[in-house]
Amino acid sequence: MTSQTHDKVVIVGGGPAGTAAAAELARHGLKSVIIDEAPKLGGVIYRGPLRQTDSLPHLDDNLKRAMTALQTRYQAHSDSIEVKTQTRVLGPEGSNQLLLSDNSGLSRQPYGHLILATGCHERSVPFPGWQLPGVMLLGGVQLQLKSGLVRPGQRMALVGTGPLLPLVACQLHKAGVDVVGVYEASPFAKLAKEAVALLNKPKLTLSGMSMMSYLKKHKIPFKYGWGIVSAQGKEQLNSIQVAPYDSQWRAQRDLAQQVDVDAIGVGYGFVARTQLAMLLGLDHHYSKVSGYVPVLDEWHQSQNHEAFVVGDSNGLLGADAAICEGQLAALRLAWQCGKITESQLSARSTKVKNKLARIKKFRFGFDRFSDRQSGLLSLAQPETVVCRCEQVRREQLDKAIAQGVKDITSLKMRTRIGMGDCQGKTCSSYALDYLHQAGLTENIGVIKPRFPLDPIPFTLME
Protein backbone atom coordinates (compact mmCIF):
# COMPACT_ATOMS: atom_id res chain seq x y z
CA MET A 1 0.00 0.00 0.00
CA THR A 2 1.18 3.47 -0.78
CA SER A 3 0.26 6.68 0.93
CA GLN A 4 0.80 10.24 -0.10
CA THR A 5 0.76 13.57 1.60
CA HIS A 6 -2.65 15.02 2.00
CA ASP A 7 -2.41 18.68 1.31
CA LYS A 8 -4.05 18.00 -2.02
CA VAL A 9 -7.57 18.34 -3.16
CA VAL A 10 -8.82 14.96 -4.31
CA ILE A 11 -11.36 15.00 -7.12
CA VAL A 12 -13.28 11.82 -7.85
CA GLY A 13 -14.27 11.79 -11.51
CA GLY A 14 -12.48 13.34 -14.48
CA GLY A 15 -15.47 14.40 -16.57
CA PRO A 16 -16.40 18.00 -17.34
CA ALA A 17 -17.10 18.85 -13.67
CA GLY A 18 -13.98 17.28 -12.18
CA THR A 19 -11.65 18.57 -14.85
CA ALA A 20 -13.08 22.10 -14.65
CA ALA A 21 -12.66 22.05 -10.87
CA ALA A 22 -9.03 20.91 -11.16
CA ALA A 23 -8.21 23.61 -13.72
CA GLU A 24 -9.84 26.33 -11.64
CA LEU A 25 -7.99 25.19 -8.51
CA ALA A 26 -4.73 25.23 -10.44
CA ARG A 27 -5.41 28.79 -11.54
CA HIS A 28 -5.36 29.76 -7.87
CA GLY A 29 -2.30 27.76 -6.97
CA LEU A 30 -3.99 24.66 -5.56
CA LYS A 31 -2.82 21.21 -6.56
CA SER A 32 -5.25 18.37 -7.10
CA VAL A 33 -5.49 14.69 -7.90
CA ILE A 34 -8.17 13.46 -10.28
CA ILE A 35 -9.21 9.83 -9.93
CA ASP A 36 -11.12 8.27 -12.80
CA GLU A 37 -12.15 4.72 -13.71
CA ALA A 38 -11.64 5.28 -17.41
CA PRO A 39 -8.33 5.24 -19.26
CA LYS A 40 -8.80 8.87 -20.29
CA LEU A 41 -10.21 12.11 -18.91
CA GLY A 42 -13.41 13.54 -20.32
CA GLY A 43 -16.15 11.51 -18.73
CA VAL A 44 -18.64 9.54 -20.73
CA ILE A 45 -19.54 12.65 -22.70
CA TYR A 46 -16.14 14.03 -23.74
CA ARG A 47 -13.72 11.14 -23.41
CA GLY A 48 -13.49 10.55 -27.13
CA PRO A 49 -11.84 7.61 -28.85
CA LEU A 50 -9.80 5.24 -26.74
CA ARG A 51 -7.90 3.85 -29.67
CA GLN A 52 -5.89 5.61 -32.29
CA THR A 53 -7.86 6.96 -35.25
CA ASP A 54 -7.24 9.49 -37.98
CA SER A 55 -10.78 10.76 -38.27
CA LEU A 56 -14.11 10.79 -36.50
CA PRO A 57 -16.51 10.89 -39.43
CA HIS A 58 -19.57 10.23 -37.32
CA LEU A 59 -19.16 12.97 -34.70
CA ASP A 60 -20.29 16.54 -35.18
CA ASP A 61 -18.04 19.56 -34.85
CA ASN A 62 -19.66 20.81 -31.63
CA LEU A 63 -18.80 17.59 -29.86
CA LYS A 64 -15.28 17.50 -31.24
CA ARG A 65 -14.76 21.09 -30.10
CA ALA A 66 -16.01 20.34 -26.62
CA MET A 67 -13.78 17.25 -26.36
CA THR A 68 -10.77 19.32 -27.35
CA ALA A 69 -11.73 22.12 -24.97
CA LEU A 70 -11.73 19.72 -22.05
CA GLN A 71 -8.30 18.35 -22.96
CA THR A 72 -6.96 21.91 -23.37
CA ARG A 73 -8.40 22.92 -20.01
CA TYR A 74 -6.49 20.07 -18.42
CA GLN A 75 -3.29 20.49 -20.44
CA ALA A 76 -2.96 24.17 -19.56
CA HIS A 77 -2.69 23.21 -15.89
CA SER A 78 -1.28 19.71 -16.07
CA ASP A 79 1.64 20.62 -13.78
CA SER A 80 -0.77 21.09 -10.90
CA ILE A 81 -3.04 18.16 -11.66
CA GLU A 82 -2.11 14.58 -10.98
CA VAL A 83 -4.29 12.16 -12.89
CA LYS A 84 -4.92 8.60 -11.82
CA THR A 85 -6.83 6.88 -14.60
CA GLN A 86 -8.18 3.33 -14.57
CA THR A 87 -8.49 3.70 -10.86
CA ARG A 88 -11.60 2.94 -8.86
CA VAL A 89 -12.62 4.36 -5.55
CA LEU A 90 -13.75 1.52 -3.31
CA GLY A 91 -14.94 3.82 -0.56
CA PRO A 92 -13.83 5.96 2.34
CA GLU A 93 -11.24 4.51 4.69
CA GLY A 94 -10.77 5.95 8.12
CA SER A 95 -11.10 9.69 8.14
CA ASN A 96 -9.81 11.69 5.19
CA GLN A 97 -8.70 8.76 3.08
CA LEU A 98 -10.14 6.87 0.15
CA LEU A 99 -9.35 3.27 -0.67
CA LEU A 100 -8.47 2.84 -4.34
CA SER A 101 -7.90 -0.12 -6.61
CA ASP A 102 -6.09 -0.25 -9.90
CA ASN A 103 -4.26 -2.89 -11.91
CA SER A 104 -1.36 -2.95 -9.51
CA GLY A 105 -3.42 -3.39 -6.38
CA LEU A 106 -4.99 -1.45 -3.56
CA SER A 107 -3.79 1.91 -2.34
CA ARG A 108 -4.89 4.71 -0.06
CA GLN A 109 -5.48 8.26 -1.16
CA PRO A 110 -5.46 10.77 1.66
CA TYR A 111 -7.21 14.03 1.02
CA GLY A 112 -7.22 17.48 2.49
CA HIS A 113 -10.37 18.40 0.61
CA LEU A 114 -12.71 16.31 -1.45
CA ILE A 115 -14.67 17.11 -4.58
CA LEU A 116 -17.01 14.42 -5.86
CA ALA A 117 -17.75 14.59 -9.57
CA THR A 118 -18.98 11.06 -10.08
CA GLY A 119 -21.54 11.81 -12.78
CA CYS A 120 -24.62 9.75 -13.43
CA HIS A 121 -25.73 6.51 -14.92
CA GLU A 122 -28.75 5.60 -16.94
CA ARG A 123 -32.13 4.84 -15.51
CA SER A 124 -33.41 1.38 -16.36
CA VAL A 125 -37.00 0.88 -17.36
CA PRO A 126 -37.83 -2.83 -17.52
CA PHE A 127 -40.09 -4.02 -20.33
CA PRO A 128 -40.70 -7.52 -21.67
CA GLY A 129 -37.55 -8.64 -23.50
CA TRP A 130 -35.25 -5.96 -22.11
CA GLN A 131 -32.74 -8.62 -21.08
CA LEU A 132 -32.17 -9.78 -24.65
CA PRO A 133 -28.65 -9.29 -25.96
CA GLY A 134 -28.88 -6.36 -28.36
CA VAL A 135 -30.91 -4.17 -25.99
CA MET A 136 -28.56 -1.46 -24.76
CA LEU A 137 -28.93 1.76 -22.89
CA LEU A 138 -28.62 4.84 -25.05
CA GLY A 139 -25.43 6.07 -23.42
CA GLY A 140 -23.91 2.62 -23.84
CA VAL A 141 -24.64 2.82 -27.55
CA GLN A 142 -23.08 6.24 -27.68
CA LEU A 143 -19.97 5.14 -25.81
CA GLN A 144 -19.36 2.47 -28.42
CA LEU A 145 -19.69 5.08 -31.15
CA LYS A 146 -17.55 7.72 -29.49
CA SER A 147 -14.97 5.78 -27.49
CA GLY A 148 -15.05 2.31 -29.04
CA LEU A 149 -15.44 3.43 -32.67
CA VAL A 150 -17.67 0.44 -33.21
CA ARG A 151 -21.25 0.10 -34.43
CA PRO A 152 -23.23 -1.75 -31.78
CA GLY A 153 -25.70 -3.03 -34.37
CA GLN A 154 -26.46 -2.88 -38.07
CA ARG A 155 -30.16 -2.12 -38.02
CA MET A 156 -31.16 -0.10 -35.01
CA ALA A 157 -33.95 1.87 -33.41
CA LEU A 158 -33.87 4.29 -30.49
CA VAL A 159 -36.55 4.61 -27.84
CA GLY A 160 -36.74 6.96 -24.89
CA THR A 161 -36.94 10.67 -24.25
CA GLY A 162 -34.82 13.78 -24.40
CA PRO A 163 -32.20 15.46 -26.52
CA LEU A 164 -29.90 12.45 -26.65
CA LEU A 165 -32.30 10.63 -28.98
CA PRO A 166 -31.80 12.78 -32.11
CA LEU A 167 -28.11 13.23 -31.30
CA VAL A 168 -27.37 9.51 -31.10
CA ALA A 169 -29.59 8.84 -34.12
CA CYS A 170 -27.44 11.20 -36.21
CA GLN A 171 -24.22 9.69 -34.89
CA LEU A 172 -25.43 6.16 -35.62
CA HIS A 173 -26.47 7.08 -39.13
CA LYS A 174 -23.18 8.81 -39.87
CA ALA A 175 -21.40 5.74 -38.53
CA GLY A 176 -23.13 3.64 -41.15
CA VAL A 177 -25.92 2.12 -39.11
CA ASP A 178 -29.34 1.70 -40.67
CA VAL A 179 -31.48 3.72 -38.25
CA VAL A 180 -35.02 2.49 -38.72
CA GLY A 181 -36.84 4.67 -36.23
CA VAL A 182 -36.56 7.02 -33.28
CA TYR A 183 -39.38 7.04 -30.73
CA GLU A 184 -39.71 9.96 -28.30
CA ALA A 185 -42.19 9.29 -25.51
CA SER A 186 -43.27 12.88 -25.07
CA PRO A 187 -45.61 14.59 -27.57
CA PHE A 188 -44.33 17.40 -29.78
CA ALA A 189 -46.88 19.83 -28.37
CA LYS A 190 -45.14 19.59 -25.04
CA LEU A 191 -41.81 20.54 -26.58
CA ALA A 192 -43.39 23.53 -28.29
CA LYS A 193 -44.58 24.72 -24.88
CA GLU A 194 -40.99 24.91 -23.71
CA ALA A 195 -39.92 27.27 -26.48
CA VAL A 196 -39.19 30.10 -24.07
CA ALA A 197 -37.04 27.90 -21.84
CA LEU A 198 -35.17 26.54 -24.84
CA LEU A 199 -34.29 30.06 -25.96
CA ASN A 200 -31.98 30.34 -22.96
CA LYS A 201 -29.50 28.30 -24.97
CA PRO A 202 -30.20 29.38 -28.55
CA LYS A 203 -27.12 27.65 -29.95
CA LEU A 204 -28.05 24.31 -28.45
CA THR A 205 -31.63 24.68 -29.58
CA LEU A 206 -30.44 25.44 -33.10
CA SER A 207 -28.16 22.44 -33.15
CA GLY A 208 -31.09 20.31 -31.99
CA MET A 209 -33.10 21.64 -34.89
CA SER A 210 -30.35 20.91 -37.36
CA MET A 211 -30.19 17.34 -36.06
CA MET A 212 -33.91 16.99 -36.66
CA SER A 213 -33.50 18.21 -40.21
CA TYR A 214 -30.60 15.81 -40.75
CA LEU A 215 -32.89 12.97 -39.73
CA LYS A 216 -35.61 14.22 -42.02
CA LYS A 217 -33.24 14.56 -44.94
CA HIS A 218 -32.12 10.98 -44.49
CA LYS A 219 -35.71 9.77 -44.10
CA ILE A 220 -35.18 8.50 -40.57
CA PRO A 221 -38.60 8.41 -38.92
CA PHE A 222 -38.77 10.39 -35.67
CA LYS A 223 -42.03 9.84 -33.84
CA TYR A 224 -43.11 11.98 -30.91
CA GLY A 225 -45.49 10.38 -28.43
CA TRP A 226 -44.31 6.86 -29.18
CA GLY A 227 -42.30 4.38 -27.17
CA ILE A 228 -41.22 0.84 -26.46
CA VAL A 229 -43.67 -1.93 -25.64
CA SER A 230 -41.50 -5.02 -25.77
CA ALA A 231 -38.52 -6.68 -27.41
CA GLN A 232 -38.51 -10.03 -29.11
CA GLY A 233 -35.92 -12.58 -30.09
CA LYS A 234 -34.85 -16.06 -29.19
CA GLU A 235 -31.19 -15.85 -28.32
CA GLN A 236 -30.81 -12.23 -29.21
CA LEU A 237 -32.89 -9.26 -30.21
CA ASN A 238 -34.51 -9.32 -33.61
CA SER A 239 -37.54 -7.08 -33.31
CA ILE A 240 -39.29 -4.64 -31.03
CA GLN A 241 -42.88 -3.56 -30.62
CA VAL A 242 -43.44 0.18 -30.42
CA ALA A 243 -46.73 1.96 -29.86
CA PRO A 244 -48.18 5.42 -29.40
CA TYR A 245 -48.07 6.55 -25.78
CA ASP A 246 -50.96 8.44 -24.21
CA SER A 247 -50.38 11.49 -22.04
CA GLN A 248 -49.48 9.24 -19.08
CA TRP A 249 -47.05 7.31 -21.32
CA ARG A 250 -49.26 4.26 -21.26
CA ALA A 251 -48.55 2.26 -24.40
CA GLN A 252 -51.62 1.89 -26.61
CA ARG A 253 -50.93 -1.75 -27.29
CA ASP A 254 -53.68 -2.22 -29.86
CA LEU A 255 -51.82 0.22 -32.11
CA ALA A 256 -48.42 -1.43 -31.64
CA GLN A 257 -46.14 -1.91 -34.61
CA GLN A 258 -43.28 -4.31 -35.08
CA VAL A 259 -39.88 -3.00 -36.10
CA ASP A 260 -37.13 -5.42 -37.13
CA VAL A 261 -33.79 -4.55 -35.57
CA ASP A 262 -30.66 -6.26 -34.31
CA ALA A 263 -29.94 -3.70 -31.60
CA ILE A 264 -31.66 -0.80 -29.88
CA GLY A 265 -30.72 2.06 -27.60
CA VAL A 266 -33.09 2.75 -24.71
CA GLY A 267 -32.90 6.08 -22.91
CA TYR A 268 -35.62 7.05 -20.46
CA GLY A 269 -33.41 9.21 -18.26
CA PHE A 270 -30.53 9.16 -15.82
CA VAL A 271 -29.82 8.81 -12.12
CA ALA A 272 -27.17 10.72 -10.19
CA ARG A 273 -24.30 8.47 -9.08
CA THR A 274 -24.19 9.10 -5.39
CA GLN A 275 -22.95 5.82 -3.91
CA LEU A 276 -19.69 7.36 -2.72
CA ALA A 277 -21.44 10.45 -1.32
CA MET A 278 -23.76 8.14 0.60
CA LEU A 279 -20.92 6.01 1.95
CA LEU A 280 -19.25 9.21 3.11
CA GLY A 281 -22.39 10.00 5.05
CA LEU A 282 -23.58 13.10 3.20
CA ASP A 283 -27.26 13.95 3.72
CA HIS A 284 -29.42 13.20 0.69
CA HIS A 285 -32.89 14.06 -0.48
CA TYR A 286 -35.08 12.57 -3.20
CA SER A 287 -35.70 14.27 -6.52
CA LYS A 288 -37.94 12.79 -9.19
CA VAL A 289 -35.60 13.77 -12.00
CA SER A 290 -32.27 12.72 -10.53
CA GLY A 291 -33.00 10.22 -7.76
CA TYR A 292 -31.33 10.68 -4.37
CA VAL A 293 -29.01 13.69 -4.44
CA PRO A 294 -26.85 15.24 -1.75
CA VAL A 295 -28.05 18.28 0.18
CA LEU A 296 -25.66 21.12 -0.68
CA ASP A 297 -25.26 24.84 -0.25
CA GLU A 298 -25.02 27.32 -3.13
CA TRP A 299 -21.33 26.43 -3.54
CA HIS A 300 -22.10 22.74 -3.83
CA GLN A 301 -20.62 21.97 -0.46
CA SER A 302 -22.30 19.55 1.90
CA GLN A 303 -22.85 20.94 5.37
CA ASN A 304 -22.62 17.74 7.35
CA HIS A 305 -19.40 16.76 5.63
CA GLU A 306 -17.13 19.24 3.98
CA ALA A 307 -17.06 17.51 0.61
CA PHE A 308 -18.20 19.30 -2.52
CA VAL A 309 -20.40 17.51 -5.03
CA VAL A 310 -20.48 18.85 -8.58
CA GLY A 311 -21.83 17.88 -11.98
CA ASP A 312 -24.51 15.30 -12.63
CA SER A 313 -23.78 13.54 -9.36
CA ASN A 314 -25.72 16.25 -7.54
CA GLY A 315 -28.58 16.48 -10.04
CA LEU A 316 -28.82 16.07 -13.77
CA LEU A 317 -28.02 19.26 -15.62
CA GLY A 318 -25.54 18.10 -18.25
CA ALA A 319 -21.96 18.95 -19.15
CA ASP A 320 -22.12 22.74 -19.47
CA ALA A 321 -23.62 23.06 -16.01
CA ALA A 322 -21.13 20.53 -14.67
CA ILE A 323 -18.27 22.78 -15.79
CA CYS A 324 -19.81 25.77 -14.00
CA GLU A 325 -20.38 23.78 -10.83
CA GLY A 326 -16.83 22.47 -10.84
CA GLN A 327 -15.58 26.05 -11.13
CA LEU A 328 -17.82 27.30 -8.36
CA ALA A 329 -16.68 24.61 -5.93
CA ALA A 330 -13.05 25.27 -6.81
CA LEU A 331 -13.46 29.01 -6.29
CA ARG A 332 -15.07 28.49 -2.94
CA LEU A 333 -12.31 26.13 -1.92
CA ALA A 334 -9.66 28.59 -3.11
CA TRP A 335 -11.32 31.19 -0.90
CA GLN A 336 -11.52 28.79 2.06
CA CYS A 337 -7.81 28.06 1.63
CA GLY A 338 -7.01 31.76 1.56
CA LYS A 339 -5.90 31.80 -2.07
CA ILE A 340 -8.39 34.42 -3.21
CA THR A 341 -10.12 37.27 -1.44
CA GLU A 342 -13.82 37.55 -0.82
CA SER A 343 -14.17 40.14 -3.58
CA GLN A 344 -12.26 37.98 -6.05
CA LEU A 345 -14.52 35.11 -5.14
CA SER A 346 -17.63 37.13 -5.74
CA ALA A 347 -16.39 38.75 -8.95
CA ARG A 348 -15.49 35.50 -10.62
CA SER A 349 -18.34 33.44 -9.26
CA THR A 350 -21.06 35.89 -10.28
CA LYS A 351 -20.28 35.30 -13.94
CA VAL A 352 -20.31 31.56 -13.49
CA LYS A 353 -23.51 31.64 -11.45
CA ASN A 354 -25.30 33.67 -14.12
CA LYS A 355 -24.26 31.23 -16.76
CA LEU A 356 -25.43 28.34 -14.62
CA ALA A 357 -28.79 30.00 -14.10
CA ARG A 358 -29.30 30.28 -17.87
CA ILE A 359 -28.38 26.66 -18.38
CA LYS A 360 -30.81 25.64 -15.65
CA LYS A 361 -33.72 27.45 -17.28
CA PHE A 362 -32.99 25.66 -20.52
CA ARG A 363 -32.52 22.35 -18.83
CA PHE A 364 -35.67 22.61 -16.74
CA GLY A 365 -37.57 23.08 -20.01
CA PHE A 366 -36.28 19.71 -21.15
CA ASP A 367 -36.95 18.14 -17.77
CA ARG A 368 -40.59 19.17 -18.02
CA PHE A 369 -40.73 17.79 -21.55
CA SER A 370 -39.10 14.50 -20.55
CA ASP A 371 -40.79 14.18 -17.15
CA ARG A 372 -41.36 10.43 -16.98
CA GLN A 373 -44.98 9.45 -16.62
CA SER A 374 -46.40 6.53 -14.71
CA GLY A 375 -47.33 4.52 -17.80
CA LEU A 376 -43.69 3.52 -18.19
CA LEU A 377 -43.94 1.48 -15.00
CA SER A 378 -46.62 -0.73 -16.45
CA LEU A 379 -44.50 -1.87 -19.38
CA ALA A 380 -43.16 -4.62 -17.13
CA GLN A 381 -45.65 -7.49 -17.02
CA PRO A 382 -46.06 -9.68 -13.91
CA GLU A 383 -43.52 -12.19 -15.23
CA THR A 384 -41.05 -9.55 -16.48
CA VAL A 385 -37.71 -9.61 -14.70
CA VAL A 386 -37.08 -6.26 -13.01
CA CYS A 387 -33.74 -7.09 -11.35
CA ARG A 388 -31.38 -8.67 -13.83
CA CYS A 389 -28.70 -9.91 -11.46
CA GLU A 390 -31.10 -11.82 -9.23
CA GLN A 391 -33.80 -12.42 -11.85
CA VAL A 392 -36.53 -10.99 -9.65
CA ARG A 393 -39.88 -10.67 -11.42
CA ARG A 394 -42.40 -7.88 -11.10
CA GLU A 395 -44.97 -10.18 -9.51
CA GLN A 396 -42.56 -10.75 -6.63
CA LEU A 397 -42.58 -7.01 -5.96
CA ASP A 398 -46.38 -7.01 -6.14
CA LYS A 399 -46.59 -9.86 -3.67
CA ALA A 400 -44.16 -8.23 -1.24
CA ILE A 401 -46.05 -4.92 -1.38
CA ALA A 402 -49.36 -6.73 -0.90
CA GLN A 403 -47.87 -8.40 2.16
CA GLY A 404 -47.11 -5.04 3.66
CA VAL A 405 -43.59 -4.14 2.58
CA LYS A 406 -43.28 -0.37 2.78
CA ASP A 407 -39.65 0.46 2.13
CA ILE A 408 -36.89 -0.53 -0.22
CA THR A 409 -34.72 -2.33 2.32
CA SER A 410 -37.56 -4.69 3.24
CA LEU A 411 -38.34 -5.11 -0.44
CA LYS A 412 -34.73 -6.11 -0.98
CA MET A 413 -34.76 -8.62 1.87
CA ARG A 414 -38.04 -10.10 0.72
CA THR A 415 -37.27 -10.39 -3.00
CA ARG A 416 -33.47 -10.18 -3.38
CA ILE A 417 -33.69 -7.14 -5.69
CA GLY A 418 -30.48 -5.20 -5.57
CA MET A 419 -28.48 -8.03 -4.02
CA GLY A 420 -26.56 -8.99 -7.13
CA ASP A 421 -23.34 -7.87 -8.73
CA CYS A 422 -24.58 -4.41 -9.72
CA GLN A 423 -25.66 -3.66 -6.14
CA GLY A 424 -29.03 -2.34 -7.23
CA LYS A 425 -27.79 0.30 -9.64
CA THR A 426 -29.85 -1.22 -12.44
CA CYS A 427 -33.09 -2.05 -10.63
CA SER A 428 -33.41 0.42 -7.79
CA SER A 429 -34.84 3.40 -9.68
CA TYR A 430 -37.63 1.19 -10.97
CA ALA A 431 -38.20 -0.24 -7.51
CA LEU A 432 -38.40 3.26 -6.01
CA ASP A 433 -40.84 4.42 -8.67
CA TYR A 434 -42.86 1.27 -8.11
CA LEU A 435 -43.11 1.86 -4.37
CA HIS A 436 -44.12 5.46 -5.01
CA GLN A 437 -46.79 4.31 -7.40
CA ALA A 438 -48.12 1.94 -4.75
CA GLY A 439 -48.72 5.03 -2.63
CA LEU A 440 -45.65 4.53 -0.46
CA THR A 441 -43.84 7.82 -0.29
CA GLU A 442 -42.66 8.20 3.29
CA ASN A 443 -39.35 6.80 4.51
CA ILE A 444 -38.85 4.44 1.61
CA GLY A 445 -35.11 4.71 1.94
CA VAL A 446 -32.49 3.71 -0.57
CA ILE A 447 -30.61 0.58 -1.44
CA LYS A 448 -27.63 1.36 0.73
CA PRO A 449 -24.34 1.37 -1.07
CA ARG A 450 -21.92 -1.21 0.24
CA PHE A 451 -18.21 -1.06 0.76
CA PRO A 452 -16.36 -1.83 -1.49
CA LEU A 453 -18.24 0.08 -4.18
CA ASP A 454 -16.60 -2.11 -6.76
CA PRO A 455 -15.75 -5.75 -6.31
CA ILE A 456 -12.18 -6.35 -5.11
CA PRO A 457 -10.65 -9.20 -7.09
CA PHE A 458 -9.23 -11.95 -4.87
CA THR A 459 -5.92 -11.55 -6.66
CA LEU A 460 -5.50 -8.12 -5.09
CA MET A 461 -5.89 -9.51 -1.61
CA GLU A 462 -3.22 -12.18 -1.91
Binding site: R51, L149, P152, L237
Partner: protein
Protein backbone atom coordinates in the same frame (compact mmCIF):
# COMPACT_ATOMS: atom_id res chain seq x y z
CA UNK B 1 -7.81 -21.86 -37.20
CA UNK B 2 -10.60 -19.59 -38.37
CA UNK B 3 -10.17 -15.96 -37.35
CA UNK B 4 -13.07 -13.83 -36.27
CA UNK B 5 -13.81 -11.00 -38.66
CA UNK B 6 -14.40 -7.47 -37.47
CA UNK B 7 -17.28 -6.05 -39.45
CA UNK B 8 -18.48 -3.22 -37.27
CA UNK B 9 -15.56 -0.78 -37.13
CA UNK B 10 -16.40 2.84 -37.87
CA UNK B 11 -12.81 3.77 -38.71
CA UNK B 12 -10.08 1.35 -39.72
CA UNK B 13 -7.92 -0.25 -37.05
CA UNK B 14 -4.48 1.34 -36.80
CA UNK B 15 -1.74 -0.59 -38.56
CA UNK B 16 -0.14 -1.51 -35.26
CA UNK B 17 -2.50 -4.07 -33.93
CA UNK B 18 -2.31 -7.44 -32.29
CA UNK B 19 -4.41 -10.52 -31.71
CA UNK B 20 -6.47 -11.64 -28.81
CA UNK B 21 -8.58 -14.76 -28.73
CA UNK B 22 -12.29 -14.84 -28.18
CA UNK B 23 -13.62 -18.30 -27.42
CA UNK B 24 -10.34 -19.67 -28.79
CA UNK B 25 -10.66 -17.84 -32.09
CA UNK B 26 -8.07 -15.18 -32.93
CA UNK B 27 -9.33 -11.66 -33.64
CA UNK B 28 -7.57 -8.36 -34.33
CA UNK B 29 -7.49 -5.78 -31.57
CA UNK B 30 -5.50 -2.67 -30.85
CA UNK B 31 -4.22 -0.66 -27.96
CA UNK B 32 -6.86 1.38 -26.14
CA UNK B 33 -9.83 -0.77 -27.04
CA UNK B 34 -12.08 -2.38 -24.52
CA UNK B 35 -12.84 -6.09 -24.70
CA UNK B 36 -16.46 -5.13 -25.29
CA UNK B 37 -15.62 -3.06 -28.38
CA UNK B 38 -13.74 -6.01 -29.86
CA UNK B 39 -16.67 -8.31 -29.14
CA UNK B 40 -19.16 -5.92 -30.72
CA UNK B 41 -16.88 -5.30 -33.70
CA UNK B 42 -16.81 -9.05 -34.25
CA UNK B 43 -20.59 -9.18 -34.13
CA UNK B 44 -21.01 -10.69 -30.69
CA UNK B 45 -24.26 -9.71 -29.00
CA UNK B 46 -24.46 -12.54 -26.45
CA UNK B 47 -21.64 -11.99 -24.01
CA UNK B 48 -22.39 -13.21 -20.54
CA UNK B 49 -24.29 -15.99 -18.86
CA UNK B 50 -25.08 -14.87 -15.33
CA UNK B 51 -25.19 -16.87 -12.11
CA UNK B 52 -28.83 -17.62 -12.80
CA UNK B 53 -28.09 -19.02 -16.25
CA UNK B 54 -29.54 -16.13 -18.18
CA UNK B 55 -27.57 -14.91 -21.15
CA UNK B 56 -27.18 -11.20 -21.65
CA UNK B 57 -25.36 -8.72 -23.78
CA UNK B 58 -23.67 -5.52 -22.77
CA UNK B 59 -26.38 -3.21 -21.48
CA UNK B 60 -24.97 -0.05 -19.90
CA UNK B 61 -21.55 -0.13 -21.52
CA UNK B 62 -20.08 1.86 -18.64
CA UNK B 63 -19.37 -0.54 -15.81
CA UNK B 64 -22.65 -0.15 -13.93
CA UNK B 65 -24.90 -3.09 -14.82
CA UNK B 66 -22.47 -6.04 -14.67
CA UNK B 67 -24.22 -7.60 -17.67
CA UNK B 68 -21.05 -8.02 -19.74
CA UNK B 69 -18.96 -10.19 -17.44
CA UNK B 70 -16.70 -12.64 -19.26
CA UNK B 71 -13.76 -14.82 -18.37
CA UNK B 72 -10.50 -13.08 -19.18
CA UNK B 73 -7.17 -14.87 -18.89
CA UNK B 74 -8.85 -17.58 -16.83
CA UNK B 75 -10.41 -15.11 -14.40
CA UNK B 76 -14.19 -15.07 -14.16
CA UNK B 77 -16.46 -12.06 -13.84
CA UNK B 78 -14.40 -9.44 -15.63
CA UNK B 79 -16.47 -6.65 -17.09
CA UNK B 80 -15.81 -6.58 -20.84
CA UNK B 81 -16.75 -2.92 -21.06
CA UNK B 82 -14.23 -1.93 -18.37
CA UNK B 83 -11.25 -4.00 -19.44
CA UNK B 84 -8.73 -2.85 -22.01
CA UNK B 85 -7.36 -5.47 -24.40
CA UNK B 86 -3.78 -6.64 -24.20
CA UNK B 87 -1.81 -8.77 -26.65
CA UNK B 88 -2.56 -12.48 -26.29
CA UNK B 89 -5.47 -11.90 -24.02
CA UNK B 90 -7.89 -14.78 -23.92
CA UNK B 91 -11.58 -14.00 -23.58
CA UNK B 92 -14.32 -16.56 -23.01
CA UNK B 93 -17.95 -15.59 -23.34
CA UNK B 94 -21.10 -17.17 -21.92
CA UNK B 95 -19.39 -18.98 -19.13
CA UNK B 96 -19.32 -18.62 -15.39
CA UNK B 97 -18.31 -20.57 -12.32
CA UNK B 98 -21.81 -21.82 -11.64
CA UNK B 99 -21.84 -23.43 -15.05
CA UNK B 100 -18.23 -24.64 -15.08
CA UNK B 101 -18.30 -26.14 -11.64
CA UNK B 102 -21.84 -27.39 -11.76
CA UNK B 103 -22.91 -25.28 -8.76
CA UNK B 104 -26.67 -25.15 -8.37
CA UNK B 105 -28.92 -22.52 -6.86
CA UNK B 106 -31.27 -23.79 -4.23
Amino acid sequence: MKSLKRTRDITPLPSRNFKITVDDQPVDACEGETVLSVLLAANYARVMENDRNVASGAYCGMGVCHCCQVKINAKHKQRACQTLVEPQMSVETLTNRFKEEGIKHD
